[in-house]
Amino acid sequence: MLKRLTGVACGLLLSLLTSIAAAEVVVVVSADNALDSLSRAQLSDLYLGRSVSLPNGESLTPIDQSDRSPAHEQFYQEYLGRSPAQIKSHWSRLIFTGRGQPPRSVSDSQAVADVVSDDRTAIGYIDSNQVPVDNTLRVLDIE
């Protein structure tokens, strides 16, 4: 019995570790959106509240994840090269001008997938190991 419990615990721990190690944050838009890539600079500008005009003349509304979600830290660190604290600092420079509010934030990757798949002007990021990318979403190449 004890051995079995230990086995289960080890298995859980192992799967947890592998899921952390394999967490892969990808940037997604709705499958209805024709966009298939963005430059890193454009992605940064979008998530830092600067206007970005896309070649097709359309605009994108960034969707964020709560800073309690592990994907939040990973996204900002990996794609923008900034820590969550730096992002918070950045927004506190804009919020108190009355000139900008951070992107709308939802709880986790699943919530981002739900919002983005329903809105062709939305862009978000998800942990593709937690939320499989189905045919309602398109993963963008970030160059």
């Binding site: 500008d45 600067r50 900034r82 820590s83 108190f96 009355g98």
Partner: protein, 417 residues
Amino acid sequence: MVITKWMASRGTRCAAFAMLTTAIAAALLASTPVAAASSRLNLDGFGTLGIVHSDEDQADFVSSLLAPEGVGHSGDWSAKVDTKLGLQLSADLAPRTSGVLQFVMEQQHDGTYNPAVEWANISFDITRNLQLRVGRMVLPTYMTSEYRKVGYATPSSRPPPEVYHLVPVTNTDGLSLSYRARFGQATNTLQVLYGSKDANVPEDQIEVTVDAENGITLANTLEWGATTLFASYTNIRLTVDAFDGLFEGYRAFGPPGEAIADRYHIDDERFEVMSIGTRYDPGDWFVMAEWARNRSRTLVGDNRGWYITGGYRLGALTPYLTLADREVFSETSHPGIDAPQAQPLNALLNEALNDAARQGRVAAGIRWDFARSVALKVQFDHIDLGADSEGVLANDQPGFERGGTMTLFSTTLDFVF
């Protein structure tokens, strides 16, 4: 102390703007129920709990020239220098129209902590890139004017006084137009602002008022990836009533006295402020620098200051270093009038001229982002006061020795919510 160091401020509000402020507040509050449903109303806050130690007990280091009390003479330790709290309500009032109301509680010119209306304005997007703003708004003299009170957004314990004391006033009542343009990957914002401001200054026992009229500010910010470039120019008409008695006294001496009064009196005189700044922040490290100058043909003269701050991020820790300097480029003395009866006037004139700050400063500190939305900063400042100068200090006592060195040790806890 130091009326000459400075230029304008908050305090007395003219009636029209008091009414406008009230109207904007009412509009924002009235929008609450709608906003709750559509989440268009935002309540944000910022604050700092800070304590500073000074080893100079004959003068005060103050957060602003509008603050009557600082650290040093008023006490070895002080929580009054950096501690403050700000609350901001912003809302979309109608399509393309939004309002902002910000209150700040900090040490006022009269020593109280009564909440003051820092901003109360309504903005209207004329086009996607052109915005009109009316009401009380930030005076964009410096690169970090918009968040100079938000400690969490500032790399060091407080904005460098060598630059930020040149214009201690932070807001103005008026209107502004800003135009935003995108060039490739760069965003440029050009703002033109017209406004006026009255203020009260702590000046020992007497009430001093400062009146800044017909102010025009041009400010331009260019953001390109990790780089920000800023430049601004302000031109106002400044009146300070503190020296009326002095100059009336001089005028009684005939043409030579009148010449002195005309040269130095701050009575509806042109007062200019120019500043440039840059910040580069690729993520792992940052560097920022600003240079600013105020200039007028008055007692205030021609003052210039600069600083450079750089830091390196090691996880949650960011050690940083600041170098700063402040100099005066106008005369700090005048022979006055060669008559025995004029000696008291000459003494007062020379004291006022020599109030111009000269100092160099090196600061080393570390910021620790130890929890979400909270940062702790510890900073050590070594200030080298210029020859025969009290630097940016205030409340100097008879025992104060000009031109020495001093150290400050600051601990601040900054938060946003």
